[in-house]
């Protein structure tokens, strides 16, 4: 704390002296004391009268050197070259600093305003700016640091006479690009929707199945029957689902009296001939004739589930699994 008070006192003593100094006559700071980065505008060409050019300079000054803040550029100062105004004013300056034990970081934001109008494109230099630094351990050690110039080009407000565009094109920078971020977001959303639509289309074209053989009539019936309860209503529904699968496979309604024709036209089901007849017997008992005899066993639901799975295997061109014992 005491050190800070002493430093403030010293700076207040030397400040008027510093102001009186011509910065350009001071020695340059030694290399390695100051590190500088700048954020220059992307646009380097096409400035015209009234435009503001923003430049941000970030200085890192190692201890024991400190920036003499009174050496910062003064707002309103008209830039000159060889004594003549060049038409650039410092319109605003914003300064902030962050002090650390071994160094201090300064953020200096400089806004230059163009006050020149030319009839042809012309380079114009912003800067240089000179900052003074003082060695806090040796108050007589005052040095300068030069912020390099920034070259930009001004353009006329109007073109006079015949102009060859090629000659006026800047070799330094491409034209500034418009931000396409929103379009990219929209593109990603559209691609997402397209992908989902294609998946939905595949699902629909595949007859509501994700896999090629998933949408078979008996595969669908198998999935439906698996979910049915093992009671009278469930058995009825399961038989109805199986009839529907047979009918859809054949393209016509299948009954006992055209079962042989069905098997002739769909020989894949021939290994199940006996079971298909048993199924029709079971259907006859459930739906038409309670006294009818069938060979489907005393537990219709497990039998139906196994039967539809075997039908599904036939439908897929596979050899059906062997009959389960006890079913």
């Amino acid at each position: 704390m005491l050190q800070r008070l002493i430093l403030t006192f010293l700076l207040s003593c030397v400040a008027p002296y510093c102001l009186a100094l011509d910065s350009q006559t001071l020695p340059d700071v030694k290399a390695g004391i100051v590190h500088m980065t700048t954020k220059d505008p992307d646009k380097r060409v096409g400035y015209s009268i009234g435009d503001i050019v923003e430049r941000e300079v970030i200085l890192t000054i190692k201890a024991p050197y400190k920036l003499i803040e009174t050496s910062l550029p003064i707002v309103g100062y008209e830039k000159r070259y060889r004594g003549k105004p060049i038409g650039v004013d410092l319109q605003a300056i914003a300064h902030s600093k962050q002090e650390y034990k071994d160094y201090t970081t300064h953020k200096i934001k400089l806004n230059y305003q163009i006050f020149v109008s030319t009839v042809v494109a012309k380079n114009i230099a912003l800067g240089p700016e000179y900052l003074n630094l003082i060695n806090t351990q040796d108050k007589k050690d005052i040095v300068k640091y030069r912020i390099p110039i920034l070259n930009v080009s001004t353009s006329p407000l109007a073109i006079f006479g015949q102009v060859k565009v090629e000659n006026n094109m800047s070799p330094f920078l491409p034209p500034p690009l418009l931000s396409a971020e929103k379009e990219y977001v929209r593109l990603k959303i559209a691609l997402g929707i397209l992908t989902l639509s294609l998946l939905a289309l595949v699902y629909i074209v595949g007859q509501r199945a994700w896999l090629p053989r998933m949408g078979g009539r008996f595969a669908t019936a198998y999935r439906a029957i698996k979910k049915l309860p093992d009671d009278d209503a469930g058995i009825k529904q399961a038989i109805s689902n199986l009839h529907l699968a047979f009918n859809q496979t054949a393209g016509i309604a299948i009954f006992n009296d055209n079962l042989e024709d069905f098997l002739k036209q769909h020989p894949d089901f021939l290994p199940l001939k006996t079971e298909i007849q048993q199924f029709f017997g079971l259907s006859r008992q459930i739906y038409f004739e309670p006294d009818a005899v069938h060979g489907a066993g005393d537990a219709p639901m497990p039998w139906l589930l196994h039967f539809v799975r075997r039908c599904r295997d036939c439908e897929r061109g596979l050899l059906p699994s062997p009959v389960m014992g006890g079913v």
């Binding site: 016509i252 309604a253 009954f255 006992n256 009296d257 739906y287 038409f288 009818a292």
Partner: protein, 338 residues
Amino acid sequence: MSDSQLVDWRNHALNLESEVNQVVVGQHGPIRLITTAIFARGHVLLEGDVGVGKTTLLRAFTRGIGGGYQRIEGTIDLMPNDLVYHTYLGEDGKPHVSPGPLLMSGENLSVFFFNEINRARPQVHSLLLRVMAERSLSAFNAEHYFPHMIVFADRNQVEKEETFEIPSAARDRFMMEIPIVVPNDDDIMQALVFDTKFHNVDALVETVKPDILQFDELNAFSSIIQNNIEASDTLKRYALNLWKATKNPLDYGVKVSGVDMNRLVLAGASPRGMSMMLRAARVNAWLNGRTAVLPDDIHAVFHATIAHRLVFSPVYEMRRTEIAREMLTGIINAVAAP
């Protein structure tokens, strides 16, 4: 009646079928349908060319079920009274009146065969249709009843000259229209030509065991069949859907090649037609040893009981047999149960 009696009657019916099948060969389908019609107590329209055995078939059945058999030929000058009586001059030189074919057998008339019905005039059709519907006739100041009579009528679909087409309302009175076609089995065809037993029809019919059934018990037994053979709710819905499909086949996706389905059907099956179909289906179930009607039983009688009831646009009438067959097959293929 006990189940055993149903079984006994079924055995008799199958025995009758077997006997007739030995006399009229290659006609298993029509013989089953006629047996069905006999037990369903429905009249039958036979369709077929000449000389295919229609008369022999009916005589054989009549012999098997007993009762009287009468036959009349349809001609353009046939009048209604010709069915009831005929007049002649007797040996005594005086006019005499004798009963016609309808009255000749009295109440014992079991089969009345009207050959080539479409050659007779509409007046004759009218009388016959009344007899078919009411099984009674007013003549000679008396009411005559034919409680056991079944009418078999034949019409030649090929020849159309000097014929009177039976109107749809009249066709609807027949329970079935059964096509009789020449068998296409070479062995059967050869036997029909070369086997001498088929040359003498009278002797052939004599080979049928007589009175296998009792014609005067058929009405009562028919009621028993109808009351004992069940029809489940699913089957009723199925029959209902078939009925609707005969009216609006397009609603069920039924199409007939070369036919504008929007214009084809003027009227589908009638309520009477559908009830007759179910009567016949019950008999078919009983003949097959079942206690309830299955869709297969309906299929067995569907064409025979429905085809002749459909009313088509006049432009399609010439192709009626072919179109009706294709349409009804399409309906059976399209309507599912359950």
